[in-house]
Structures are given as C-alpha cells and as structure tokens.
C-alpha cells in the first residue's frame, strides 16, 4: 500500500516537473508501435508506404490515446488550475484600477486581522506552553469576607501537599523584587520565588543548566538562582558559560544554576527565579495570604474529585485552625482560566471587531467583482459559447478571486509586519509584563499562515456570489440573444443587498467603538481620590536587606532622602510609600474596630494597608476627612493610634461589615 502511494507520488511529481520529457517519451513510444506494425506488414509483402498507412489507420487517434495517457498521470486538475491562474493574472493586469482597489481593500482587512491574530495567538493560545495544560490547576483560598483575596497561604499549601492525593505535584510561588548589582551598574529586577518542583510541575526545563533540585536542603538552595533569557542576553551578553558563576542580588551572592528558555513568562515576564522553601513554623501559618499555588492533576483524577478532596481538607483546616482558617475555602480552577480570564474577553472582542472589518471588506470586494462581472458579460458569454461548462466557469472565476485574495494577503502580511511591533509597543513595559505572552508577540510564521488561510476563506466568501451568478446558464443564453442589459436589475438587487449588509456591519462596529470609547472616558473620569495629574514624579528604590537591616538604618536613609529631595527647587512636598497607589501589588491587613466586639482573625475585615512617610497625603492630594497627617515626630506606636481615614477604603470595608 505504502509502496503504491510512494510510486504514485513519484510518478505524479515526474509528470508535473518533467512534463516535456514525458510528452516526448509518449510520442516516441506510440511512434515506435506504429512503425513496428508497419514493419510487420512490410515483411508480409506490403509496400512501405501502404504498410505505414495501414498501421496508422489501425492504431486510431494518436491524440486521443495521448490524452487518455495524460489523464492517467493524475495531474490534469493541477494543470487546469495553473492555466486558470495564468489567465486570471493576465485579466487582472488588464484592469489595474480594479485590481489595485480590491488588493488594497483586502490588504487593509487582512492586515488588521493578522495583527490582532498575532496578539490573540501570543496571549491566548501560546502564553502557557506547558505540557498537558488542561491538567494544570490554580489552587486558591477564598473567603466571603475578602472578595479580592485569591492567594493561598504557606499553611494551606503544606497541608495540600501533605494530605491530598488528587495532585501528581503541587508547587507554590510568590513575587520577589530586588537589586542586581554589578561592577558597572545596579538595576532593579523582578523575580519569582518558586518551590523547587515549580518547573517540573509545569513540565518545563531550563534552556541551559538545571532546575532547583527537589531533594536539596533549604540551606543548599538558599543561594541558587535561575535567570530569564532576556536578563541573560541583556546583562550577560548571552554568555554560554554563565552557569556556575556568581551574581549579587540585593547584597547577597547567588550562584546561577540555569537559564530559562526565551518566551517563558509564567506567571509574568520576569528576570529571575529564586528557590522558595518553608521553615517549620510555616505549617501553622494559615493567615499570610501571599502564596500562589498550582497543581498538576494525578492521572485519571477528575475536576469533581479534586474539589471533593479540597472541600474535605478545607473543613479539616477550619476545625484545626479556627482563628485563622474559619470561613476560608480551598478552590481550584484550570490554570489557563485563572491566568487568562481578565484578558480573554478583551482579545476576543478585538478579534471579533477585526473579523467584522474583514466581512465588510468581503462585501465590498464582492460588490466590485459583481460590477466587473457585469462589464465582462461578453467575455463570459464567449467562454460559454466555446463550451466552457458552468462548473468550469465558476471555477475560473473563483481562481481569479483566490489570486486577488492572495495578492491582498501579501499586502496584509506586509502591513502586519509593520503594525505588530507597533501594537507590542502600545502597552508600556511596566504594564505589559502582566499581560501573559505579550513579550512573544511578533509577526511569525503562524500569523503568516493565518493571513493566507483568511485570504483563501474570504476568497470563497466574496468570490462565491459573483462566480455563481456569472456562470448561470441563462445568463449566457440571454446574452447571446439580446446583447446585454437583461440581467441588470437582478444584479442591481444583489449589489444593493450587499451594500445593506455592509452598512449594517459598519453600524455594529461603529456603535461598539463608540461604547468602548465611552467606557474609556468613564474609566478616566473615575475619582481615584488622588490629585496627582502631571505634578507628581515617582521613583522606586529597593534597599538591600543585609546592608539596611532594621528600621533605623533604612529610616535614616529615607529621612535624609526626603529632606534632600525636598530641598530641590520647585519641589513642594516629598514622601515615601511601600507601594504606589493604583499599582498592581497590594498588601491586605485585617483589623478590628475599637469599641466593637473583636472578630476572630479569619473573619476580620481587611483593608489595603500602606506604610507611608509624613507628607504622603499632601503629596498625592488626598484629602483628610478628619484629624491630621503623620508628622516626623510620630513614632511607630503613635502611628498605629493615629486616627485618619482614607475615605473610599474605610467606607467600603466598614460599610460592608456593619
């Protein structure tokens, strides 16, 4: 069977690429047959001339036999297509205005779709390139008391590892940031602390070097680091011998054990990964909600089984640690959902909009083609008269559409090649690192394949109607009889219908765009409680822990910084805060309201907590509702008792609890 297939392919390839040689052979073979037969007659006594004549007569139509032999080759369909493409190109060259209009229109549509597809591909399809992604779950600990909390705790994680059997492996990670020092310059780096089995749980290995070893003691792991591809290229010039060398992070030496592959951006794009280990006390810490947990399902375990096991564990933990875990439930969801749920609707919307544009383009092009077909009635009538079948004619017209579409795709791909980097740059780096896969956005072979597929598909959409209409048999007859004009009204109706469709689609797009612009305007108009427009400059600073240990040294530095920056001409106020307002990282703290019965820690209300230096509220223009700002004379005990209110936060949390 395989033999036959191979032989068949070889034969067809030869028929296709050595066509001329094959024709010559066929000719020689048939000529030999006739001559041989004539020779036979001559031997029987017939005159040479007569012998040849008889042999020829007997052999029959040489051309018919040749044609049948050609059919056997299995390449006639291809040859017809080649002929059609040739004709289409010639015919299009004759009407350059029409061709240019159609190709440009198609290029715009295909270019827009390809650009958006590039983003969809990078973010939704390829941002999580993990083995058996559908078996990976995100495990979180949630409570009705804190809607924004979706992290786990060290205690929950360790209990999960110890007491569940639904997972083949469970890994935890948390965010980290610090300073990468060096002889020339120090730079801020973002990283992730990960349990040693993190990479094996995802099913990934470093591009160079090794992962953290699962069996290593925490002391052995403490000073190991895996660096990301971007940092490796930027800071170490892609040095292949980087593994084993020592780098200084926030004042401590770390040994580089490996480099992660390019494009690995989980959970966000990061510079490096550090090992995360837990001390003995962590088992009893079920209230520090900072850890993120992922798990790979054991073979054969279903989502329902997992949740049953998680529910049982939640109940046990609530009983064992009522003050910390009461009311907290462990839940799981597919990792892809937990990572992509925020961005998915956005990109689907964009893709939908781009495809609508493409549909409008198709309607437009169909209209142009219909107009052209009307103008070509005579050519088509001639083809019909010469015996071209309906299917043959439709096929030719479709080929013409596909040629147009592919020309459009070429333009579209060029457009996307220019606009994809533009799109990637449209989100600032500080934000784009939170869009999964954004760094991998590029005009690649997948986007190219998409543009070609889209072109062919749209050729069928915009080419089908004109092709079917033009090849209608009565069209040809009517043309032969009465010249042209007989089909004018019907063609007109069709084109009107297309215009209506186009108009409807455009209206939908316009309304959607208007709604989106309104949403953006509403977002911009939200009162953030901050008056900082254009007048506040920010910078971030990371103090190495081992050199600025304790509050005094760091405090001294910040106090000095504050007074020296404050002395710069034009600076009205200076302050410092742990995390900037509206930034991604937030620290939640639970609290009790004095004068009300205390609530167990597990159920206590929570608020975003910031540690600030004096002048913070003034600098950001946050109005104080009552009391006073901190002063430099408030010590830490006084800070805690200070009565200030940050309007929105307190109203939301206390109002909610009542």
């Amino acid at each position: 069977m395989l033999n036959e297939l191979w032989s068949d392919l070889r034969y067809r390839a030869r028929a296709l690429f050595r066509r001329r040689a094959m024709e010559q052979e066929l000719d020689a073979e048939l000529r030999f047959h006739i001559d041989r037969q004539a020779e036979e007659y001559q031997r029987a006594g017939v005159q040479p001339h007569e012998a040849l004549r008889r042999a020829r007569l007997e052999f029959g139509g040489v051309e018919r036999i040749k044609e049948e032999s050609r059919d056997v080759r299995g390449t006639s369909a291809l040859e017809t297509t080649a002929q059609d493409v040739h004709h289409a190109l010639r015919s299009l060259r004759k009407s350059p205005g029409f061709t240019l209009a159609v190709v440009l229109t198609l290029a715009l549509g295909i270019g827009a779709c390809t650009t958006i597809f590039g983003a969809v591909d990078a973010v939704l399809l390829r941002s999580l390139p993990f083995r058996n992604l559908d078996r990976l779950l995100a495990v979180t600990v949630v409570s009705d008391h804190c809607a924004a909390c979706d992290n786990s705790t060290p205690g929950h994680y360790l209990a999960l590892r110890e007491r569940t059997r639904a997972f083949a492996s469970l890994a935890g990670y948390g965010s980290w940031s610090g300073t990468l020092e060096g002889p020339e310059q120090a730079e801020h780096v973002d990283g992730v602390t990960v349990t040693p089995n993190f990479f094996s749980t995802l099913g990934l290995a470093p591009a160079i070097g090794r992962m953290f070893e699962v069996d290593s003691s925490s002391a052995a792991l403490e000073h190991e680091v895996l660096i990301g591809d971007a940092l490796w290229r930027r800071r170490f010039a892609g040095d292949p011998n980087i593994v084993g060398s020592t780098i200084t992070l926030s004042g401590s030496p770390y040994t580089v054990v490996g480099v992660m592959p390019a494009g690995f951006e989980f959970p966000t794009s990061n510079d490096l990964w550090l090992p995360l280990t837990f001390d003995a006390a962590a088992v009893n810490d079920l209230s520090s909600h900072w850890l993120r947990v992922i798990g790979r399902l054991a073979p054969g375990v279903s989502a329902v089984q997992v949740q049953r096991e998680l529910d049982a564990l939640s109940a046990t933990l609530e009983e064992t640690y009522p003050d910390q875990a009461k009311g907290w439930r462990i839940v799981s969801e597919p990792l892809s959902d937990s990572i992509l749920y925020e961005v998915r609707p956005f990109f689907m919307l964009l893709m939908g909009a781009a495809l609508s544009v493409m549909l409008i383009v198709c309607a437009n092009v169909a209209n142009l083609l219909l107009a052209r077909t009307s103008a070509r009635e005579r050519e088509i009538a001639v083809r019909c008269a010469l015996g071209a079948g309906r299917w043959r004619l439709a096929r030719y017209l479709l080929t013409e559409s596909i040629v147009l579409a592919l020309l459009g795709a070429t333009g579209g791909a060029l457009l996307a090649w220019w606009s994809v980097p533009l799109l990637r740059g449209s989100i600032p780096a500080s934000l784009s690192r939170f869009v999964p896969g954004w760094g991998g956005l590029a005009m690649n072979e997948r986007a190219l394949a998409f543009s070609v597929l889209l072109a062919i598909l749209s050729a069928f959409i915009f080419g089908a109607l004109p092709a079917l209409r033009a090849s209608r048999p009565e069209l040809a007859t009517s043309l032969k009889e009465g010249g042209h004009g007989a089909t004018g009204s019907r063609g007109g109706r069709l084109r009107h219908a297309l215009v209506v469709t186009e108009f409807g689609l455009a209206l939908v797009l316009l309304v959607s765009a208007a709604l989106m612009i309104r949403s953006v305007r509403n977002l911009l108009a939200i009162d953030t409680g901050i008056r900082a427009e254009q007048h506040v400059l920010t910078m971030s600073l990371e103090l190495p822990k081992n050199r600025y240990e304790g509050a005094t040294r760091a405090g001294a530095l910040y106090t000095r910084l504050r007074s020296e920056v404050g002395a710069v001409p034009g600076v009205r106020s200076v302050s410092a805060v742990t995390t900037l307002p509206l930034s991604h990282d937030r620290n939640f703290a639970s609290f009790n309201v004095s004068g009300r019965p205390p609530i167990p820690r597990a159920n206590a209300p929570t608020a975003v907590s910031l540690i600030v230096m004096p002048g913070y509220f003034q600098t950001f223009g946050i109005p104080l509702l009552a009391g006073r700002d901190f002063t430099a004379h408030d010590d830490s005990a006084a800070e805690r008792s200070s009565e200030w209110s940050y309007e929105t936060r307190c109203v939301s949390c206390c109002g909610g609890r009542r």
Partner: protein, 115 residues
Amino acid sequence: MQGDYLTNPSLDLPQGTVDLLILKALSLQPMHGWAIAQRIHQVSRTALEIPQGSLYPALHRLERRGWIRAEWGISENNRKAKFYQLTRTGRKQLVAESEDWARLTAAVALVLDMG
C-alpha cells in the same frame, strides 16, 4: 487489426482484464507495448485483442501504481523502445488477480452449467 474483426472476430474484454493480461504477459520477460499486444493476440490464438486505445493508458496506469517499471532499451528490430517489466509489487498483484480471476470464472461456469 480492428479492421479485421469481421473476418476474424475477437472477444470483447471485460473491464479490468486488460491489466491482468498485461501483467501476465510481462511475467515472462520485459517487453515493449507492441510486443505485449502481439503476445496476447498470439497466445490467445488470436481470440483476444487489446484495443489499441486502452493498451497505453493501461500501461501508464500500472506504471503509476508501481506494478510495472519502464526502461528504454533496444528492440528486436534495433530501435529504441520503451520496455516494461514487472516489479515485486506487480508480481504479487499478478498472483492475487489470477486467483481472483480463476475463482470468478469457475463460479460463472458453475452457474452456467446448472441447467
């Protein structure tokens, strides 16, 4: 020879038997198209005649399937001719098709002898 059929009537070949006859003819030695037609004509005591129109398409079809292989060689009258020979697949195919043919004719004969 088509013209001769009034004086020397030859049998109509059922569909598909041309392939079998070609394979059989080639099982003895490599041959060119004319010789194949001659051989079948002679061996069948002039009862069978492969229509000229179907001989060459059939040869090319068999070649495409890989059952026979073609090579240019020198013919018995000292001219360049295209010689066909059986491949290993072709040989297997010949055995299989011969058996099928034997079963078919035996069965048809049984039915015809019935009454």
